[in-house]
Structures are given as structure tokens and as C-alpha cells.
């Protein structure tokens, strides 16, 4: 990999300006995936001296600096307990500890990786992103946008509320990407259902969520209807990891299982 310039800007404003000078200028996060995706870089913009790796917990929110390594998130005592620990669970099966010591939450979010397990969990707990120029933005809005991001992510905020969660990754081995991943939460009596690696990027099943959130009574029939609805509204596809049909079958089973699990944990 060729890197022509490596720059530590004096401010985020300077970094932002540099980023916009050339499409081949890039901000570096953990950098683990960079080698596999970029052949040559004009200017590599280093932000580790401007954006830290702290995790700050208040009564209402966990504020995470964009440069926080995944391993720090995974083992943080508050994050381990929040929503049945689904954020930690989504991280602990991402390759090995050494990769998780390097890969950052900011790099994961900005990269919009379709295979990401963490994105599914973050979407299910409705996190807010804080960008340098655009300010605050819901993760769902960011993931839905087809525009290439040219802003600088500063931090990620996880709301602290009462709620339960379920995360499941289907993969052949620890080191492999997910064939499918699912994150389901019930926070403030509202369900969120997220399915990722379909193989498309993690998405909320909005119609299915509406169906269960407006139901007067939850029983097996409703849960199966919700699972069916997820499969109808989200797109599934085939690749060498699994077929569309296999993914749809998995999704139906795990959505139903996950919903019952969050309901039982809440009661």
C-alpha cells in the first residue's frame, strides 16, 4: 500500500479541509481494513491526537470517542450489562482480541461494512453519531444514506434506558464473517428488530417493528407474523457464504427466538 503523505492536523477544521482537498485523502481509524481496501492513498489524516478513545458514562448516555478500540467497548462493565450486553456480544466474536485491540468503533461506523456485527447491535440500541460538520445524526439515517461520507466522526452516544436485548451471529467459524446477524431490543416498551449481513448492511425491519409495537397481545401467531414480515420487507441475497433462501429461513427462526427472549428477559 502506498501512502504519499501522513499528516497530523492541528485541528479538526484543518483535518476536514484536508479531507476535502482530494478524494484520495482519507482519515485513518484503526486501519485494520485499510490494507484490504485501498491500494494507494494521497494523504492519510491522523486524528488520534484530536479524537481520543475514552468511554464516558453519565446517567442518560454512554459517550464513546470515535477512536475507542472495540476491545475496550467489549470489556467495559457498563456496556457489558446494558441491554443484556448485546453490544459486547456483538464484538466478542469479531475475529481475535488482537484485531479488536486495533479496530475502532469510529472506523466500523464510518466504513458502513455490510458484514458488521457491531453495526447491527448499535442500530438496535438507537445510537446517535456526532460529526464535526453535520453535528448529531441517528445511526439509522447515516446507514440509509447512499452518499459517500466526507465528514469526521467525533463520537458515538448510546442511550442508557431500561431495556432488554438479543444478539445472534450465524457464522461458520469465529474468524469468518456472519452469514447473518440479528439484534433485537425492547427499550421503553418499544421493540427494534435489526438484521444485518443479509448480505446487505444492517437495517431495521420497520414494518415488522410497527406490527409488534402496535399489537394488543403478543402470542405465537403474532411473533410468527412479525418474523414473516421481516423476511418480506428486507432484501436478502446470495453469496458464497449462504443462499438467499438459507438466510431467509435463518432470519425467520432467529427473529422469533430473539423476540421471545427479550420478552422473557423483560418480565
Amino acid at each position: 500500500m502506498d501512502v504519499l503523505h501522513y499528516v497530523l492536523p492541528n485541528s479538526l477544521a484543518e483535518a476536514y479541509q484536508l479531507l476535502h482537498e482530494d478524494l484520495n485523502n482519507h482519515v485513518i481509524g484503526g486501519g485494520v481494513w485499510m490494507k484490504n481496501t485501498l491500494k494507494s492513498i494521497n494523504t492519510l489524516i491522523e486524528l488520534k491526537h484530536l479524537i481520543g478513545e475514552k468511554i464516558e458514562v453519565t446517567h442518560e448516555v454512554i459517550k464513546i470517542d470515535a477512536n475507542c478500540p472495540l476491545r475496550q467497548l467489549e470489556i467495559h462493565p457498563v456496556i457489558k450489562d446494558l441491554y443484556d450486553g448485546i453490544i459486547s456480544q456483538s464484538i466478542e466474536k469479531i475475529m481475535g482480541v488482537s484485531i479488536r485491540n486495533v479496530a475502532t468503533i469510529g472506523g466500523t461506523v464510518v466504513g458502513k461494512y455490510a458484514f458488521s456485527d457491531l453495526l447491527a447491535a448499535l442500530l438496535a440500541v438507537d445510537v446517535t453519531l456526532v460529526f464535526f460538520k453535520q453535528g448529531r445524526m441517528e445511526l439509522s439515517k447515516y446507514l440509509e444514506s447512499h452518499e459517500k461520507n466526507r465528514d469526521i466522526l467525533i463520537s458515538i452516544e448510546i442511550p442508557i434506558k431500561k431495556g432488554t436485548g438479543y444478539f445472534h451471529k450465524v457464522s461458520t467459524t469465529h474468524l469468518d464473517f456472519a452469514i447473518l446477524n440479528l439484534a433485537i431490543t425492547q427499550i421503553d416498551h418499544q421493540f427494534r428488530i435489526v438484521i444485518g449481513a443479509r448480505p446487505g448492511i444492517a437495517s431495521c425491519a420497520n414494518q415488522a417493528m410497527e406490527l409488534i409495537n402496535h399489537a394488543k397481545e403478543i402470542d405465537d401467531t403474532l411473533i410468527n407474523e412479525v418474523a414473516e414480515c421481516c423476511v418480506k420487507e428486507l432484501s436478502f441475497g446470495s453469496n458464497f457464504r449462504g443462499s438467499e433462501e438459507y438466510r431467509m429461513t435463518l432470519a425467520k427462526v432467529y427473529v422469533a427466538r430473539g423476540l421471545w427472549e427479550v420478552i422473557h428477559h423483560a418480565s
Binding site: 502506498d2 501512502v3 485494520v32 481475535g96
Partner: protein, 150 residues
């Protein structure tokens, strides 16, 4: 670009290309215990400790590591020898290619986790591939090493 590393406690200054990875830098500096395997952060044989934490040297740009502490297996010689003895007793050694990175990861785990269970050990070692042994003998050897107070 001139980078000042601290390798096994010794300051090392080296001129590197901006796109050079730590694995190449360390091998240029003759730390040949740092091995190249998949070169894409999947196999674990290039693992070194950066500020005490296991890190894939094949995927870390050297320019980012100015003034950082790098530890290769030579830097934990006594502990590595102790682990090697337990590996020997259990017949957990074959080609030895993964041993330096395995020793560094086990050393970091010992510092990070208190009395880890076998399941925790297995989880910590994910991504440290050994193509010879099938892991069972290694796990037994690691359990003995962790109990070893000598």
C-alpha cells in the same frame, strides 16, 4: 519518515516509508521471531505487543507508532521459556511457526485476565492459528503455565 520505536525496552530509530507496516519494520530490524503468515490480519502469527496489548503487526502502520512500546517474544524471554517448557511436556510443539505470537498472546492474557477458565482461554486465543497441533495440547500446556508459580 523517521520513527522512534521502543522495542523490548530499547530505543530504535528507523527511516520508514509512510505505507510500511510494523511487521516489515521489525523484520528489517532483524526481529525475525515476528512471522509473516496470511498478511491480512487473520492468522495471528505476526502478533506483537504494542503498549502491552496483542496487535497484528501486519496491519499496523509504523508511522503511527512513534514513541510506542513494542514487545516481541525476545522481550519476554523468561516467560516464553517457561511456556515453552510446558508446551514441550504436553507435546504441543510441532513446526513452531506460531509459537512466538502464541507466547506473546498468552503472556498478555495472563496480565489481563485473572484465573481464566478454559473457555476464556480459548476465546482469547481466537485468531492465533496453529496448523499442526489441533490446539488441545496447547490449551493444557497454557493451563499448566498459568498455574506455574516458579
Amino acid at each position: 519518515m523517521l520513527v522512534n520505536l521502543i522495542v523490548n525496552g530499547q530505543p530504535r530509530s528507523i527511516e520508514v516509508a509512510k505505507g510500511e507496516f510494523l511487521l516489515d519494520t521489525l523484520r528489517h530490524l532483524d526481529y525475525l521471531s515476528v512471522r509473516r503468515g496470511c498478511d491480512s490480519s487473520s492468522c495471528g502469527v505476526c502478533t506483537v505487543l504494542v503498549n502491552g496489548k496483542p496487535t497484528p503487526s501486519c496491519s499496523l502502520l509504523t508511522v503511527r507508532l512513534d514513541q510506542q512500546e513494542i514487545t516481541t517474544v525476545e522481550g519476554i524471554a523468561k516467560e516464553a521459556e517457561k511456556l515453552a517448557t510446558h508446551f514441550g511436556h504436553e507435546g504441543a510443539d510441532q513446526c513452531g511457526y506460531c509459537n512466538p505470537s502464541m507466547a506473546l498472546t498468552v503472556y498478555a492474557m495472563k496480565k489481563e485476565l485473572k484465573k481464566p477458565t478454559l473457555e476464556q482461554i480459548k476465546a482469547y486465543l481466537v485468531g492465533n492459528l496453529c496448523r499442526c497441533t489441533g490446539y488441545q495440547a496447547q490449551h493444557i500446556a497454557i493451563l499448566h503455565y498459568l498455574e506455574d508459580q516458579s
